[in-house]
């Protein structure tokens, strides 16, 4: 249970990232109507919200594939630049699969996808020790319809900022 306690503490650190992950619009509204940069809001280029919404925190994959599409590489290039400009952040890359496949195979496939994103970020200069990976397989879809429209959004690698050494 000690382990669980630590996890809960870590969870508190990343709660902003986790929530916005599910509902990107939640962070966007409210303050900043005058155009002023509100620290921490999506208009602040140094904020995690900016990373998620403007840079783009996720890349999508084809069926059964873990190779990066040109569009994915563009997104990851942006992520790399942001991470290099904001060296105090570390990230956990979550790999996911759609529900077409066995639980075990999808776990392995999600790991491949997370690793593909991680390797790309490292190739652009981000230190490997800032980038953890985890695979959720098909356990955490964001879209729950059973059509390709939903599946295509579930086959993803999401770069979640898990904290800043600035505290």
């Amino acid at each position: 249970m000690n382990v669980l306690g630590k996890i809960l503490a870590l969870g508190a650190l990343s709660v902003i990232a986790a929530c916005s992950n599910n509902d990107p619009s939640a962070l966007g509204g409210g303050a900043g109507g005058s155009g002023a940069i509100v620290p921490g809001s999506p208009s602040d280029p140094r904020s995690p919200a900016y990373f998620q919404q403007t840079v783009g925190d996720r890349v999508l994959f084809s069926v059964d594939q873990s190779t990066l599409t040109p569009q994915a590489k563009t997104t990851l290039q942006g992520q790399a630049e942001w991470l290099l400009a904001n060296p105090d952040y570390v990230a956990k890359i979550e790999g996911h699969a759609d529900e077409q496949g066995t639980r075990e195979y999808n776990l392995a496939l999600g790991a491949r996808r997370a690793n593909a994103a991680r390797e790309f970020l490292i190739s652009r200069g981000v230190a490997g020790n800032r980038l953890q990976t985890v695979s959720y397989g098909k356990e955490r879809p964001i879209e729950i319809c059973s059509t390709e429209e939903c599946y295509s959004k579930n086959r993803r690698a999401v770069t979640v900022l898990t904290g800043s050494t600035l505290g």
């Binding site: 669980l4 075990e104 390797e119």
Partner: protein, 439 residues
């Protein structure tokens, strides 16, 4: 409840000297493809006093439900009975049971003394008018009445089919609630028929794919409680769990015990690549079994422990392979159309059950251990994760329905492909692991 179950002592005692050899004239050959279930009657067991009345009725009903649930037997309603069985030792009026076409008859008596429950029963071949096997007496506690009923049913099943039974067994599974994008998962254990559900974890972390130890005392499973998928072992009696430490900073999953229970085989993810490893549980030492850039997962030992069947996409798509238990050259055994996964070796050693994905459908199937004689038993939007009954006659698996309201349910099917039926659980259920027959 766990304490009660483990403290339950079941004794088997011969009631009388054998009258006939075990193989009576009444015999149901499962392999011959049963089309017409065998009619049988289970008149309410005779209670020895009022305190035994409810147990006598309940035990009779569970015995009948076990037998009917196989699809091999059909119960004759008590409404049709001509004879009443009011004394366990009174002569059976065979003509009355013949008249309603009962081929098998199960009679019994129940005694309750404090918390002690005693069940006596006999199995009769109605048409020859002979007892099938010997009368038996079971002794236990009243809390264990369902187990005693399952033991009676196992005896009846065995005597008529010549096969081992599977009713006095438990199933570990993942209890699921909530929508697909917010699903809550808890490890649970229950009797094979869905009774006596007990939760072993809370739903704070995702848990996946419990696997029974060969003796049924422990479960391996995968949990995200550390934030990453890792393997845990849980003592079923004490419900104490412990992480099995694999390499630091890695993800591990898909564990399964070796037949001697001393080691496990599992998948380890390193640098995005998934290979198979084996861990000796006493020393904690791990050894690599596969070393390819492909995904290797879902390993399962042959019952003699000499081989491992697993899933790999080394050919480009997921397929089934068999290799020696210590690693080495793997032989591909799946060659049909589609993708194959989650192979599980039958406890009888003769078949491998698997998940197959083809043309947008999922199937549970079986094949010989060399890949011959593939047969698909089910077809749906998503069937996966087969597990074998202790006698190798029935497969339980996960069926998930599609769409936003999709839900996972446990199902079982006979290896003939007949008798497909849902297994009732309080919430959704997935990833069943069928444990051994209990002692």
């Amino acid at each position: 409840m766990m304490k009660l179950l483990t403290s339950l002592v079941l004794g088997l005692t011969l009631l009388s000297a054998p009258v006939h050899a075990q193989s009576g004239p009444l015999r149901l050959e499962i392999d011959e493809g049963i089309i017409e279930p065998m009619p049988f009657a289970v008149p309410n067991f005779v209670p020895d006093g009022a305190s035994a009345a409810q147990y006598a009725t309940d035990i009779s009903r569970v015995v009948a439900a076990d037998l009917t649930g196989t699809g091999l037997f059909r119960e004759i309603s008590s409404d049709a009975f001509i004879s009443r069985v009011s004394s366990f030792d009174a002569p059976v009026q065979f003509a009355d049971w013949k008249a309603i076409n009962a081929q098998a008859l199960v009679t019994g008596a129940v005694n309750v003394s404090g918390e002690r429950l005693t069940v006596r029963f006999r199995v009769w071949d109605v048409f020859s008018g002979q007892e099938l096997g010997d009368g038996l007496q079971l002794a236990g506690t009243t809390d264990g009445w369902r187990r005693m009923a399952h033991k009676v049913a196992d005896q009846v099943y065995s005597r008529i089919t010549g096969e081992g039974g599977y009713f006095d067994s438990r199933v570990a599974f993942v209890s699921e609630s909530g929508p697909k994008n917010q699903r809550l998962k808890r490890l649970a254990i229950m009797d094979y028929d869905g009774a006596n559900v007990q939760y072993l974890t809370d739903s704070a972390a995702i848990v996946l794919a419990p696997r029974f130890s060969p003796s049924g005392d422990r479960l391996l499973y995968t949990s995200y409680e550390s934030g990453s998928p890792r393997i845990y072992v849980l003592d079923v009696g004490s419900v104490q769990r412990q992480e099995l430490r694999t390499q630091d900073g890695t993800m591990s999953f898909s564990p399964r015990f070796s037949p001697d229970g001393r080691s496990i085989v599992y998948s380890l993810i390193q640098g995005g690549n998934t290979d198979l490893w084996r861990m000796d549980l006493a020393s904690g030492q791990s050894a690599r079994l596969t070393n390819t850039p492909a995904i290797e997962t879902a390993p399962s030992y042959s019952p003699d422990g000499s081989q491992i069947v697993f899933e790999s996409d080394r050919s480009g798509t997921p397929q089934l392979y068999v290799m020696p238990a210590n690693g080495g050259e793997a032989t591909r055994i799946s060659f049909g159309q589609g993708r194959y996964g989650t192979p599980v070796w039958s406890p009888r050693g003769d078949l491998i059950a698997f998940t197959k994905q083809n043309k947008g459908r999922f199937h549970i199937g079986v094949m010989r251990t060399n890949g011959d004689e593939e047969r698909l038993l089910t077809s749906s939007f998503l069937d996966e994760g087969p597990t074998w009954s202790p006698n190798g006659r029935v497969i339980m698996f996960t069926r998930e329905t599609q769409g936003a309201s999709g839900r996972a349910t446990l199902y079982s099917v006979d290896i003939s492909g007949r008798n497909l039926r849902p297994v009732r659980t309080p919430d959704g259920g997935s990833d069943p692991s069928w444990g051994p027959l209990q002692n």
